[in-house]
């Protein structure tokens, strides 16, 4: 039932690619989520509608379809991206659309009084957002973002279908080479699970750090 030790090297290589894609797409997703989430609350209608379109479009279609489209259809418009770029771009935009809703609900959950107090102190809306609202909202965003990052990790398995040799792809290669199917895929699943545990522990640490001094009565 257990996988012979010499195969773990290949899986580890794949896992590094998976972690790399997760990290890069995660950063992109966070940026997209922040921009789109704030844009959705803009008082300027074109900005709001652009954000709504982005969110609905990427949440409404399948991640795999988006990746395939970027990979197979985009080159026909003369824009050829490397598989790695497609992976990071596709997954980042996809998860970012979900993240936008997280950002929006976290910002909306900050009591109005915080806004009003910032205004009363003569802060500009941008400054109030940056110095008062966001630092509090970020703490509330962390648990849902933790879930999204695990969704992202799971979604990275799809990049094996656009020729990237990630953890899943390495598993398949080993499978065709050795036919030790059950132990190989079990090991792959365990690798993913361990990476997911790693992501959760990073977020737990972040949560502890960022909520220092905020525990008593502020914001909530």
């Amino acid at each position: 039932m257990f996988l012979p030790i010499e195969f773990y090297g290949n899986l580890l290589q794949g896992a590094l690619i998976t972690i790399q894609i997760t990290a890069m797409a995660g950063v992109l997703a966070f940026v997209c989520a922040l921009v789109a989430g704030l844009a959705r609350m803009s008082s300027w209608r074109p900005v709001r509608w652009t954000a709504v379109t982005y969110v609905e479009f990427f949440r409404g279609t399948s991640a795999l379809v988006q990746l395939f489209w970027l990979f197979y259809a985009l080159p026909l418009f003369g824009l050829s991206l490397s598989p790695m770029t497609v992976a990071v771009l596709g997954l980042g935009l996809h998860i970012g659309a979900y993240g936008a809703e997280v950002v929006r609900s976290a910002v909306l959950a900050i009591p109005r009084g915080q806004h009003e107090a910032a205004l009363a102190l003569n802060m500009s809306p941008a400054l109030a957002m940056r110095r008062v609202i966001l630092p509090q909202a970020v703490v509330a965003m962390l648990p849902p973002f933790n879930n999204l990052m695990i969704e992202l990790l799971k979604a990275t398995a799809l990049v094996s279908l656009i020729t990237i040799t990630d953890l899943t792809f390495q598993g398949q290669l080993l499978n065709t080479a050795t036919l030790k199917t059950a132990p190989i895929f079990m090991a792959v699943l365990v690798f993913y699970f361990l990476i997911a545990l790693g992501i959760t522990s990073v977020f737990r640490t972040l949560e502890r750090r960022l909520s220092v001094g905020r525990l008593k009565g502020m914001a909530r």
């Binding site: 399948s62 988006q66 197979y72 026909l76 990790l153 398995a157 094996s160 895929f185 997911a196």
Partner: protein, 220 residues
């Protein structure tokens, strides 16, 4: 590269046929997720540790590893145990089991929201635990979570393209086959994307309506 309308109209009927398979897979998977999710939720609430701890750990494991790898696992490993099923059945089981771990959390939230007093009152009226659960607790726990469950139906629908990886002839697979025959990927892939968008947007609107409807019911 220009959009080829003749070709698009030629592949559209095939893709619509495949849409039926996609919808079937999503619905059957959803039914499995609904039933199995409830069983998982109940097992995790059970006071018997030998039941709640392993089920909880397994659900956590399934929830944080990629569906694609789980599908490969089922697809390659089940025949090894002498279970011969069609790819469609394998895929539907994979979808159902994966999403059961999500619906279990939804049910848990619904069940936790029913006040303890309801259990105690039913207990005082000499209801059996099963009877209490069926006619007192469930009718209060389910309606608030119906929209959330509906969202998971959409999520399952959007994950059905993964079944193409285990050779199920759903939309994505048909689009890929059509594309590989003519080397025109743009039209089939774009149509698949649009069909996904249309079906999920319509479902989202229907779920919104259902949510309003249930809200009205609860207020009465």
């Amino acid at each position: 590269m220009i959009w080829d309308w003749d070709y698009a109209l030629e592949v559209l009927p095939k893709l619509l046929d495949a849409l039926i398979v996609t919808v079937q897979a999503a619905l059957v998977g959803f039914v499995i997720a609904l039933v199995l999710g409830m069983l998982i939720a109940l097992a995790r609430r059970s006071g018997r540790l030998w039941l709640s701890v392993p089920v909880g750990a397994l659900a956590e494991f399934i929830r944080s590893t990629p569906l694609l790898v789980q599908l490969y696992f089922l697809f390659f490993v089940l025949p090894g145990f002498g279970i011969q099923t069609s790819p469609f059945i394998t895929g539907v089981i994979g979808l159902g089991v994966h999403y059961a771990t999500y619906t279990a959390e939804v049910y848990r939230a619904g069940l936790d929201a029913v006040p303890r007093g309801q259990w105690e009152a039913a207990w005082a009226l000499d209801f059996s635990p099963l009877h209490t659960f069926r006619s007192i607790i469930l009718p209060q726990a389910l309606p608030p979570v119906v929209p959330v469950l509906g969202n998971y139906l959409i999520a399952i629908f959007k994950d059905t393209p993964l079944l193409s990886a285990i050779t199920v002839l759903e939309m994505m697979q048909v689009a890929k086959i059509e594309g590989s025959e003519t080397f025109q990927y743009l039209e089939p892939l774009t149509i698949v994307g649009l069909l996904f968008l249309i079906v999920s947007l319509i479902s989202a609107v229907l779920i919104g309506r259902l949510e309003n409807h249930l809200g009205v019911l609860r207020r009465i």
